[in-house]
Amino acid sequence: MRRRVAVTINGARHEHEVEPRLLLVQYIRELAGLTGTHVGCDTSNCGACTVEINGHSVKSCTVFAVQADGAEVTTIEGLAKGTTLHPLQQAFWDEHGLQCGFCTPGMIMAAKQLLDRNPNPSEREIRLGLEGNLCRCTGYHNIVKAVQAAAKVLAPGAESKAPASVS
């Protein structure tokens, strides 16, 4: 029993026949071929698979592909414009907010939602906002700094507004 799903990922339309049990993260990785979204646990604890569905940050290992039928999905590959990094990507690079890089795509996607909702978060708000994303390398210190740095760039009225985030 297969079901037809159509998902727009980073602006490109994908259509496939899938098993109903196929997870969205598997769809993104195996059928859409976008391997930047990672799988780090089986239990929605680590957040490595975080993507946006219709503007909401979601752990894509807890969503079936069929549930995303008709949705607009943004993955880490959808953030940069050409070779210009999204301010969060740039800030993670500038502030050494990553080491092995495995949690990074999910961490950046979660941080994006955090800043979309709260453009000027306190350190505590950043820490609480990223509680659902696990990193084993950085101790979170430079991740927090990266989100603070990106917030400055993304803040309304900031001098260098560009490059704008992908909506």
């Binding site: 930047g36 646990c41 880490i76 890089g101 990074t104 950046i108 820490r127 950085t138």
Partner: protein, 778 residues
């Protein structure tokens, strides 16, 4: 370039999701492997029924231990490490007659999709005869205990003594004696990327390529060749992007052998990706030790002697480097002078996942012991913990200091990191604040630890004698025709930033911009050999090897320049990527021009071979010994027992810092992992030997909300044993932080008479301890 915090070159691919981890590799006609693992902790296999599974959709093959036995005549490697006469029973990649831990591979299913393989795996019927699980370290070696390995005859692998000095005299001389049992709970390393393997065996050419999420591609290559009987020259192992290791990817694992075997059987590439619920059982664990300690001290805080017995839970087998943890006993003296040390290590088999290296590997345990001892002595004598440490420190004039057990520290003044940390945290002011808060009924505590660390493994002779493996660093520096550079290293990073740091090292010597230097690693087809990455060894060994190769290249460049400039070699100055005759820098030729000439052999001096390349195997004269002082301020919630880390100050001395940003990053992560051990993490087994903390829902690692911002300071004492003066920093944070936190919690609860607390200091445990006397101050 040395000392510059330049941004990492690894990051653009990683922040855009375009890095390639094993599961991201392009795959054609790949077969998926699912491993049926033992559900029993200790049992005899009576029979495995696979017929029903073989009929399932998509199944290509199913193999059990019996099916693969003829090809598995060589067991998995076990290195001698410190206890060469230990009993090390054979471990095969798949269980043969018996299972010895829940999670041990019993059968493998090869199918066209991961889901099909897993579905079929559930149709395999395994009949077990359950045996009593062996779980308690002390009971395990009693006469009537069930035995894991019939050929060993007991559950004791070894019982080794490491003693020096007159311990009896130390205890006779003592004013104060203290006895304490310290628990190093079992930890699950939890790299966020689990392991994964893609093996591709090509029939007719007999060539095997294995992509593995490993810290040790070179070791894996050698052992795949040995175990599978394939010429080493036909085996290529690649560690692509590796999503964290922390020691958990440091051994030759069953799955690397099984995927390769399956690929050879099927003639198709075979992939296995570890799921988290497998990772928590199939990837080795860390710590799992009990330390029984007795201390002899004087009223003035002088620690005379320590007796320490390390009970090491090996788990079901010896693992590859499982007994490396004995090093905890060997370095237990820490930063202190003692008159006598009486150490013992007892290695015991239990029906749990094997233990092996986990960040710090023996050194956090040693530091935990000696730094708890210093605080216990302070408590008994009524002295300040700072004063007790100062009293016992090895002094700078004693360096190079040789410990009771014969290890020689390379350098270090342990007061400089301590002084700086005390000043950063404002120690005197804190004690006043603490006294006031105590009057208000608040539990504020400060905890301190100093450490020394043996790392940079190692000098080849010393490491071979102690561990059975000859360890050194390797590099190739190859300047291309256009003056661009490829640096090949023997280390295999997984987050440590070698591509950036080692480009800085080469750039510093050659004056070639970092952007023009590519650093390649983790592919056994490139470069002669490597000893890979673990034990905070890479920069002390391979980083210095890069420096030496670059110096050799510079020497040859000067010879070529002398010839081209028609000058004597001794008159040539090499600076900023240019060579010129002393006094005439305006007539310089660039390294790019020299490189071009190196490949136009007719332009070279008579007798000189073409090319501008050098290879180095670097074997230093000693280990390196970083040191430091960490201080934490915690507050314990009197109502809930929850511990909050308010401040964390760390001053670490790792010698020369090539890229301080990267050094600090290593410390942040290491400190967080140690805080995790102190407060949250514990692998819990039930009485049947089943892992109860089998997911990240139950096994808690630190989140962003649990961590403070870290306050780091540094001192720089270059190591005298390598040209860059570097020491190691990958494990330092973890080595110092667990005990720093525990010391702080005990300090906070001192008014309640609390002298020790077992890790992890969960709210429940803390609350019970606070209320054991009805919460009264003693």
């Amino acid at each position: 370039m040395i000392g510059a915090s330049i941004k990492r070159r690894e990051d653009p691919r990683l922040v855009t999701g375009t890095g390639t981890y094993v599961d991201d590799l392009p795959q054609t006609a790949v077969v998926h492997m699912y491993i049926v693992r033992s559900t029993e902790a200790h049992a005899r296999i009576l029979g495995i029924e696979t017929a029903r599974a073989r009929e399932a959709d998509g199944v290509l093959a199913i193999f059990t231990g019996k099916d693969l036995k003829s090809e598995l005549t060589v067991p998995l490697p076990v290195t001698p490490t410190f206890v060469p006469d230990k009993k090390a029973p054979n471990q095969y990649p798949i269980a043969m007659e018996k299972v010895r831990y829940a999670g041990e591979p019993v059968a493998i299913v090869l199918a066209t999709s991961r889901a099909a393989a897993e579905d079929a795996g559930e149709r395999i019927d395994i009949r077990y005869e359950s045996l009593p699980p062996v779980l308690d370290l002390e009971k395990a070696i009693e006469k009537d205990a069930a035995v894991l390995h019939d050929d060993v005859g007991s559950n004791l692998s070894y019982d080794a003594k490491f003693a020096a000095g007159d311990i009896e005299a130390a205890f006779r001389e003592a004013d104060v004696t203290i006895k304490q049992r310290l628990i190093q709970q079992r930890l699950i390393p939890v790299a966020i990327e689990g392991r994964g393997v893609l093996a591709d065996y090509k029939p007719f050419t007999n060539k095997l390529t294995v992509y593995s999420s490993t810290q040790i591609p070179h070791f894996v290559k050698v052992w795949l060749a040995v175990i599978l009987g394939i010429s080493e020259s036909n085996v290529r192992v690649v560690a692509p992007e590796v999503g964290g290791g922390f020691g958990s990817k440091i051994r030759v694992y069953p799955e690397e052998i099984l995927t390769a075997l399956a690929s050879r059987r099927l003639g198709r590439p075979v992939k296995w990706i570890e799921e988290r619920n497998e990772n928590v059982k199939a990837t080795h664990h860390g710590r799992s030790q009990i330390w029984d300690v007795e201390v002899a001290a004087k009223k003035d805080g002088t620690v005379l002697g320590v007796r320490a017995t390390q009970w090491l839970d090996l788990g079901a087998y010896c693992s590859q480097f499982g007994t490396f943890m004995v090093i905890g006993v060997l370095v237990a003296q820490g930063a202190y002078k003692l008159k006598a040390f009486d150490g013992r290590s007892i290695g015991v088999f239990t029906n749990r996942t094997p233990t092996d290296a986990y960040r710090g590997a023996g050194r956090p345990e040693a530091t935990y012991m000696i730094e708890r001892v210093m605080d216990l002595v302070a408590r008994e004598t009524g002295l300040d913990p700072v004063e007790v440490r100062r009293k016992n420190f090895v002094r700078v004039e004693d360096q190079p200091f040789t410990t009771l057990l014969g290890l020689t520290y390379d350098s270090g003044d342990y007061t400089i990191t301590l002084d700086k940390a005390l000043q950063m945290v404002g120690y005197e002011g804190f004690r006043k604040e603490q006294a006031e808060k105590r009057k208000q009924g608040k539990y504020l505590g400060i905890g301190l630890a100093t450490y020394i660390e043996i790392c940079g493994l190692g000098p080849a002779a010393a490491t071979q004698a102690a561990t059975g493996v000859s360890l050194w660093g390797m590099s190739v520096v190859n300047v291309h025709f256009t003056g661009k550079v490829t640096v090949i290293i023997g280390s295999s990073p997984h987050g440590q930033g070698h591509e950036t740091t080692y480009a800085q090292v080469a750039s510093d010597v050659l004056g070639i911009p970092v952007e023009d230097i590519d650093v390649v690693h983790g592919d056994t087809a490139i470069g002669p050999m490597g000893m890979d990455t673990y034990g905070s060894r890479s920069t002390a060994l391979d980083g210095n090897a890069v420096h030496i190769s670059a110096m050799k290249v510079q020497e040859k460049a000067k010879k070529i320049a002398a010839h081209l400039l028609e000058a004597a070699e001794g008159d040539i100055v090499y600076e900023d990527g240019k060579a010129f005759v002393k006094g005439t820098p305006s007539k310089a030729i660039t390294i790019q021009e020299i490189a071009g000439a190196a490949f136009q052999t007719n332009r070279l001096p008579k007798g000189m071979e073409g090319g501008l390349e050098a290879t180095t195997f670097f074997d230093p004269s000693n280990f390196v010994w970083p040191f430091g002082a960490h201080i934490a301020v915690v507050e314990v919630d009197g109502d809930t027992g929850a511990v909050r880390v308010l401040r964390y100050v760390a001053v670490d001395d790792c010698g020369t810092r090539i890229n301080p940003m990267v050094v600090d990053g290593q410390l942040h992560g290491g400190i967080a992992q140690g805080i995790g051990q102190a407060l949250f993490e514990e692998a819990v087994y039930d009485e049947a030997g089943q892992l109860r903390t089998g997911s990240l829902t139950d096994y808690l690692i630190a989140t962003a909300a649990d961590m403070p911002s870290f306050e780091l300071g540094a001192t720089v004492t270059p190591s005298p044993v390598n040209p860059l003066g570097t020491k190691g920093i990958g494990e330092a944070g973890t080595i110092a932080s667990s005990v720093t936190i525990v010391n702080a919690i005990v300090d906070a609860l001192a008014p309640l008479g609390v002298k020790d607390i077992e890790m992890p200091a969960t709210p429940e445990k803390v609350w019970r301890l606070m209320h054991r006397n009805g919460g009264k101050t003693r």
